[in-house]
């Protein structure tokens, strides 16, 4: 089943997948236990002539224990899943590492627009670098993207990074990720955003640090000229 996932190329992707597999093993056991029991009962307790069913209404604690004990196990496992899950959620969504790499990601029907602060390091100045549908980042560095939207709700989805966050008009929502691999990865929109929703995609280009610097230099001189 692992082969169905897109390749993981972010620092926290393995944690997200880890929770997936943690839950997968637990529910798989439950699946085979319950469905197996049902199948067994279905074959074992078919009607046979002259044989009556057992009258068991579950109205004594001794009988009820048969459902209450498994239920208690479910409670424990649920809390266990929640606790493990909370750590990963916090890692991805709450504990953003400090970084000097900040980009604005702006959703609009039906493109992703990315804005880098120019050489002055500030947004909303004349030397801002704007790209359409292309986000260039260096590998091995925490990247912060501040998500915005110009019209409707879009969702910034990086399948290879196990990251998803809606871009909500009227809000600035920061997300972070750190690439572990050089390459090009798609940035689909994951929230229905109009007739062009399908096909609204950007490209995340992960460079080695020196190549990234080169790209940035070219862009900043290009836009400054």
């Amino acid at each position: 089943m692992q082969s169905w996932f897109p390749e993981n190329v972010s620092t926290f992707g393995a944690d997200v997948d880890g929770i997936f597999w943690f839950i997968f093993y637990i529910v798989t056991i439950w699946f085979f236990l319950t469905e197996g029991l049902i199948l067994y009962f279905v074959f074992r307790y078919r009607r046979k002539p002259g044989q009556k069913a057992v009258y068991a209404a579950g109205d004594t604690w001794a009988q009820l224990a048969w459902v209450l004990v498994p239920m208690a196990i479910v409670v424990v496992l649920d809390l266990f899943i929640d606790i493990r899950s909370a750590d990963v959620w916090a890692k991805v969504k709450l504990q953003r590492p400090p970084t000097d790499f900040v980009v604005h990601g702006i959703g609009k029907q039906f493109n992703w627009e990315f804005v880098y602060p120019g050489p002055d390091g500030k947004f909303d100045t004349d030397d801002d670098i704007k790209t359409d549908n292309e986000l260039h980042v260096p590998v091995g560095k925490p990247i912060q993207v501040i998500l915005m939207s110009k019209d409707v709700i879009h969702s910034f989805f990086l399948p290879h990074f196990r990251l998803k966050q809606d871009a909500m008009p009227g809000r600035r929502i920061p997300v972070w990720f750190e690439a572990t691999k050089i390459g090009q990865f798609e940035i689909p929109c994951a929230e229905l955003c109009g007739f062009g929703h399908s096909g609204m995609k950007g490209l995340l280009v992960v460079h080695p640090p020196d190549k990234y610097q080169k790209w940035y230099q070219e862009k900043s001189t290009g836009s400054g000229a």
């Binding site: 044989q51 057992v54 579950g58 009988q63 479910v74 899950s85 009227g170 994951a190």
Partner: protein, 594 residues
């Protein structure tokens, strides 16, 4: 009279036969029957206040909508498997038509198939019969509710033909997409969509009042709350959950209508509004709605399984308590639809905990059903197959829900086909499987004829196989990252690996839809030419089986008296393995039993 007929305790069959003979005498003698025969065709079948006729009206409307829902599913699947080709029987599917299909499929299936089928049709038909009442508490209100629903249906159907087409902003209708026409979420279609939803909610509010009043005030003598059939309990809990949750969404819908037509800005961020407000108002109802559909489905499953396992429902009271608790919990989980929506990310954990904890009461219900099967004496009729199918499928859906409930996993699988596969497993098990089970089970009572068992079993196995072949692999498509509601997956390189699966799923979906022809043939053939049904073909205990099939105008010739709970099957020391709720076993008879 009641005491006279059980002086001698023979076999149950004999007593029931005598019971029916007595009834026939009553029929001639009783005044209201000769009176009711004078009703004209229109007052009998069209503007009827009889809960059984109203139930059939809901049933017809929901089956009509199910056809459209299935049709839209076919077109959606065609487009996903063979993007931008001409769909067989339709033609090229424009991008915004695709969005309309996605929107209307969800709206139709949840609000115009699931609710009218499980709550309105079976609730209306069974609730008065099961508690031993002559009709609903407010028959005219009942008629009003079905006609408001009919109006809602007309409004929704009309929306397909207005300029700009039907709504295209998803069945969740998130603004700003749904708020302004230029965003291509639909024009007048959205207004009509909102109007149709508001009308349908009004209809079900009236229905809920009727369900509550009937079950609380109109129970037959001896029918204590803890003797009520499980389905009545589930309908009651569902009605309460619906009535308490729907208010905010109606308010939200009116705000959206005002934003669209009166220039208000409740959801417009550039003028002080907030699109997230809609999501909270919508899902505050939207998630309890899941349980509104699910509980009656589980109730149906419990009824059928108890009858054909010939066993009492295991842990009757704990199941009721668990269902009530799950009803309460369902009000505390709504924001799990919004983990990545932009709400404060710190909110995710409390909602993740409530969401995963809601699996606990359902675990109890499921374990109790499994325990009911233990030591049983199962008869595999068509309804029983569908009931076991519901159970098997629902367990799978419940388990995949744990993935969605975990906020961390949801970051990746949110808005992917994993979620689509999950909620089809939970909802289809309860609408499709439990719904069909209920139809096969109560068809004799509704229409006075039996359905064909062979066709029924063929229908079950085809449905069960193709259903799993569609939605099982769909989980893998979701793990591959495929987003919901995209019209053309071939536009994405990372989705290349799931393309063969998409084609396979589409083929299976077409076969699933085709398999339903077996049901349609069976339904109509049985309606006119099926074997005439006896009063109690399944040897079941609940009150609806104590009257004729179909029941007379006011259900019972004499209001039955209830002596015991609904599930006294295979009582030790008794010859028969069933004991109707209304059968009085006198002292002499009791002695004869032992």
């Amino acid at each position: 009279m009641v005491s006279r007929k059980i002086d001698r305790f023979g076999s149950l069959d004999k007593i029931l036969k005598k019971d029916i003979e007595v009834k026939n005498v009553n029929e001639i003698a009783t005044d209201h029957h000769s009176h009711s025969d004078k009703r004209s065709f229109v007052s009998r079948y069209v503007f009827s206040t009889d809960h059984k006729v109203i139930a059939k009206q809901y049933l017809s409307l929901s089956l009509f909508w199910a056809l459209l829902g299935a049709g839209s599913a076919y077109l959606i699947r065609w487009q996903i498997a063979h993007p931008d080709t001409e769909a067989f029987g339709w033609g090229y599917i424009e991008p915004n038509v695709y969005n309309t299909l996605v929107t209307m499929h969800g709206t139709i299936m949840v609000f115009f198939v699931a609710m009218p089928l499980l709550l309105a049709a079976f609730g209306n038909f069974l609730l008065p019969l099961m508690v031993g009442a002559r009709d609903m508490a407010f028959p005219r209100l009942n008629m009003l509710s079905v006609w408001i629903f009919a109006l809602a249906s007309v409004v929704l159907f009309t929306s397909f033909f207005v300029p700009g087409g039907a709504a295209a902003a998803g069945w969740t209708g998130y603004p700003p997409l749904s708020a302004k026409n230029e965003y291509t979420g639909g024009g007048y279609g959205v207004d009509l969509w909102l109007l149709a939803l508001a009308l349908e909610f009004a209809s079900f509010l009236l229905g809920g009042i009727n369900f509550l009043t009937t079950a609380i005030n109109m129970r037959a003598p001896g029918m204590t709350l803890m003797r009520m059939p499980m389905l009545v309990w589930m309908q009651l809990i569902a009605a309460v959950v619906f009535m308490l949750s729907v208010g905010p969404t109606i308010a939200g819908a009116i705000l959206l209508l005002m934003d669209r037509n009166l220039g208000t800005t409740f959801y417009a961020p550039d003028a002080g509004g907030d699109p997230l407000l809609w999501q909270h108002l919508f899902w505050f109802f939207g998630h309890p709605e899941v349980y509104v559909i699910l509980l009656p489905g589980l109730g149906i499953t419990l009824e059928i399984i108890s009858v054909f396992a010939r066993k009492p429902i295991f842990a009757y009271r704990p199941i009721i308590y668990a269902s009530i608790i799950s009803g309460f919990l369902s009000f505390l989980v709504w924001a799990h639809h919004q983990y990545v929506s932009g709400m404060d990310p710190r909110l995710a954990m409390p909602f993740s905990i409530t969401t995963i904890i809601i699996s606990v009461p359902f675990a109890l219900v499921i374990f109790s059903i499994v325990a009911t099967l233990w030591g049983s004496s199962m008869v595999f009729t068509t309804p029983m197959l569908f009931a076991i199918g519901t159970l098997g499928v629902f367990i799978f859906g419940g388990l995949t829900g744990i993935f969605n409930g975990s906020a961390a996993v949801d970051i990746y699988i949110h808005d992917t086909y994993f979620v689509v596969a999950h909620f089809h497993y939970t909802l289809i098990s309860n609408v499709f499987f439990a719904g069909f089970g209920a139809l096969y089970f109560w068809f004799p009572k509704m229409f006075g004829r039996m359905m064909n068992e062979t066709l029924g079993k063929i229908h079950f196995w085809l449905t069960f196989a193709f259903f799993n072949l569609i939605f099982g692999p769909m989980h893998l498509v979701g793990l591959g990252g495929m987003m919901r509601r995209i019209a053309n997956p071939t536009q994405y390189d990372f989705l290349k690996p799931v393309e063969p699966l998409n084609i396979f799923i589409t083929l299976m979906a077409i076969l699933l839809i085709c398999s339903q022809i077996v049901f349609v043939i069976n339904f109509f053939w049985s309606l006119f030419a099926g074997k005439v049904a006896p009063a109690n073909p399944w040897q079941a205990n609940t009150l609806e089986w104590s009257t004729s099939s179909p029941p007379p105008h006011e259900n019972f010739d004499a209001i039955p008296v209830v002596y015991r709970g609904a599930y006294e099957y295979s009582l030790p020391g008794q010859k028969e393995d069933w004991l109707p709720q209304n059968l009085h076993v006198g002292d002499g008879a009791k002695a004869a039993l032992h």
